[in-house]
């Protein structure tokens, strides 16, 4: 009886093989049409990209293939494997740190775009918001050992800020048009939250980098950019009182009841869901969330705010800059066509289309047409935006990990700010010692 099953399965296999082989056969046709292949990870923009691909083909006859690979860690692995196998597509993106971007460039995978950017009196270069381009640039004397220049094209900008639910504010007796401006005000709201039995702030703090983002924002606010960079360079220890103040902020947030229960077991999607379903009053998320919230709850009444400042010494900082960027494969067979396509994609008309279709902020200065109020709120934050990828120095990954885990411990109430500061500093010193050898 098993044999009978086997026979049927064998027949299915043959049919399937035939179908697959026919797929192979058509691939072998020689084409005189130029085809550009793009690998991306942005699931929500796939339909918009396909539309643009059709438009471009109608306009220029060049075929553009957008291939989506999700989720983003799988995408990163695929890009790395392809780099090893010398098999990168014409256009791809590098998610992650500047260090990795630098390595790709040094390994010769990425085409330098400076000449194209500076053509015609910096025509292409000037069409972008400067901060969007900065993330894709390496400056003179950068610590990564990369030849200075521009190596990527931003296709949107984003900022990571706080959002708050206006309806829940009303319920708490707060003015929906006056979100907390100082840290103390935020802590005071904590009391109201406890009384009303509501959840406060949600964010994907199971994913360490989001903790890093907020902590870093406050570090800039408390001690200023220069001291933060000096710490990264190893000149200032993490046990410095200013850093202890940063750690202590999280302790205060926890004790005031501002943080939602289980915030450090959340991935960002869970946090987005909770905020969209009005189960939390605040969220810490990036401007991409506008599209997500719209999908989950179109009637959500919310506003954008900067994280409330903890100190008057320095301005509040937020992370922002290019949201997603594309890079050109240095070994591409159609470099000129590829660059032309990217110029078209980042042009004001296409950027405006993408912005409307996917609720993201355009990278092109001239595309800011009719964006919804909520996105405008995010855009206003750009003035305060900075990003680790533009600082010119990177902290050791083990130190970043220890730092973020330390904050998780503080939120769990397991360790004190002084304890964790000492631990993080110890790891930092170990890494510095290794590098000196």
């Amino acid at each position: 009886m098993l044999k009978g099953h086997v026979k049927i399965l064998a027949v299915i296999c043959c049919l399937a093989v035939a179908t697959l082989l026919s797929g192979c056969a058509s691939k072998k046709e020689t084409r005189k049409i130029i085809t550009i292949t793009i690998w991306h990870w942005m699931t929500d923009r796939e339909p918009a990209f396909q539309e643009l691909a059709k438009k471009y083909e109608a306009k220029t006859g060049v075929k553009v293939n957008f291939d989506l690979y999700a989720p983003s860690d799988a995408y990163t692995q695929k890009v790395r494997a392809a780099a090893q196998g010398q098999n990168l597509p014409d256009i791809f993106g590098i998610l992650g740190e500047k260090r990795d971007f630098a390595s790709f460039i040094k390994a010769g995978h990425i085409l330098e775009l400076t000449p194209y950017m500076e053509e015609n009196n910096n025509c292409w270069k000037n069409s972008f918001f400067p901060k969007a381009l900065e993330v894709n640039e390496f400056s003179q004397g950068n610590s990564y050992g990369v030849k200075p220049g521009i190596y990527g094209v931003p296709i949107d900008i984003m900022t990571i800020q706080m959002v708050y639910n206006k309806d829940l504010f009303k319920k708490l007796g707060l003015n929906p048009n006056r979100p907390p401006a100082t840290f103390q005000e935020l802590l005071d709201i904590g009391k109201k939250l406890k009384e009303a039995n509501m959840q406060g702030l949600v964010s994907g703090w199971g994913e360490l980098w989001m903790i890093d983002c907020l902590a870093n924002n406050y570090a800039f606010n408390i001690m200023g950019k220069d001291k933060v960079l000096a710490t990264i360079r190893g000149e200032v220890p993490y046990t410095d009182p200013d850093w202890i103040k940063v750690f202590a902020l999280f302790k205060d947030l926890r004790e005031a009841g501002v943080l939602a229960t289980g915030i450090i077991t959340m991935v960002n999607k869970t946090a987005e869901q909770l905020f969209a379903n009005e189960k939390a009053v605040f969220a810490f998320n990036g401007s991409w969330c506008a599209n997500v919230y719209k999908g989950m709850n179109p009637n959500l009444n919310y506003g954008v705010m900067l994280p409330p400042k903890a100190s008057e010494n320095y301005p509040m900082a937020i992370w922002g800059g290019a949201g997603s960027s594309f890079m050109v494969n240095a070994h591409s067979k159609n470099k000129e066509e590829v660059v032309k396509f990217l110029q078209w994609l980042s042009d004001s008309e296409q950027q405006a289309y993408l912005s409307e279709a996917t609720n993201n902020l355009p990278a092109n200065k001239n595309s800011v047409t009719k964006i919804p109020e909520i996105l405008a709120g995010f855009a206003r934050g750009m003035d305060f935006a900075t990003h680790p990828n533009i600082w010119g120095v990177s902290e050791f990954p083990v130190v970043i990990e220890a730092f973020d885990k330390a904050i998780q411990s503080i939120i769990l109430g397991e360790k004190t700010p002084e304890q964790v500061a000492a631990e993080v500093q110890r790891i930092k010193e170990r890494e510095l010692a290794k590098r000196r050898k």
Partner: protein, 294 residues
């Protein structure tokens, strides 16, 4: 003639050995080689560090050993709670009861479900904020409000909760194997013992247990190998390593590969992990041999 016969023998193992050599041994050699280098996975140059990675793992990487301890804890719970449950269920289903086949089908559903669904469903049951808080409500209803916890976010309970859910997902395989083992014990043995005046407990102890020992060892070895490598469920339930409380070895390896871009180090972690697993399996195997001879 003899040569022809030997050649025939080799042909039987040839396909397996060929595939194995190409698809396991070659990558393994590469991973083994890389464990002696510091490499970010991208640059064409790799820096030779000799035993540096291994030294770092063994002497300095407290995250790694915490992950190993956590995995060991989950495995211990699997070996005890999960396998005891599987055994009890198998024993219950071995008796002449109705609905035996129905239960057999149901108990195998958890292993078949994707970890994503399992993670989301359990969060729904356990969590308060993004779930229906069923467990805590039940405890309060039973008059035990002091036992209420944030099971998945409280560091004291998170790992155990994860371990229990992991056991829930895994007991199906053990159940099946134990059931099969129990069903091969001839009924005559039990009948004979009953005639001789043995009660249920005595026949269980003298007949069932000794004949099931080999099966128990097989299940134990497979459980250890499988549970030590678990990680997807942890992400689904607690989003990550929860400040190290729910860290496990595979998550540490992934962190080294993706987070710190230390490919060579990740390979060294993989090799260290493999060595530990071999030692544990070897001990289990020797232990089983002794028991079998007894």
């Amino acid at each position: 003639m003899k040569i022809k016969s030997t050649l025939e023998n080799y042909i039987f193992v040839l396909p397996a050995v060929l595939i194995f050599s190409i698809f396991y041994i070659i990558p393994f050699i590469e991973v083994f080689r890389l464990s002696f280098f510091e490499w970010d996975g991208i640059l064409p140059t790799q820096v030779f560090v000799g035993l540096g990675n291994f030294k770092e793992i063994i002497l300095e990487d407290s995250n790694w050993w915490q992950a190993m301890r956590n995995a060991g804890y989950i495995t211990l719970i699997a070996l005890t709670f999960q396998n005891a449950l599987a055994f009890l269920l198998a024993w219950a289903c071995d008796r002449e009861i109705r609905l035996k086949n129905f239960y057999r089908m149901i108990f195998f559903i958890p292993p078949v479900l994707s970890e994503l669904v399992v993670g989301m469903a359990w969060r729904f049951i356990i969590n308060d904020v993004d779930g229906a808080n069923i467990v805590n409500r039940f405890l309060i209803g039973m008059g035990l409000p002091q036992l209420v916890h944030s099971w998945l976010s409280d560091p004291k309970t998170a790992l155990t909760t994860v371990a229990i859910i992991h056991s829930w997902k895994g007991f199906g395989w053990g159940f099946l194997i134990f059931l099969a083992g129990l069903q091969t014990i001839p009924r005559e043995l039990y009948e004979a013992a009953h005639v001789d005046g043995a009660n249920a407990w005595q026949s269980f102890r003298k007949i069932t247990i000794p004949l099931m020992v080999p099966v128990m060892v097989l299940v134990a070895i497979l459980t250890v190998l499988g549970t030590m490598q678990a990680f997807v469920l942890i992400i689904g339930l607690v989003g990550g390593e929860l400040a190290g409380h729910t860290s496990v070895p595979v998550l540490r390896i992934l962190a080294a590969m993706r987070g710190s871009s230390r490919f060579g180090y990740a390979c060294a972690q993989g090799i260290t992990f493999g060595v530990v697993l071999i030692i544990i399996s070897f001990i289990q195997y020797r232990f089983s041999r002794k028991y079998r001879q007894a």
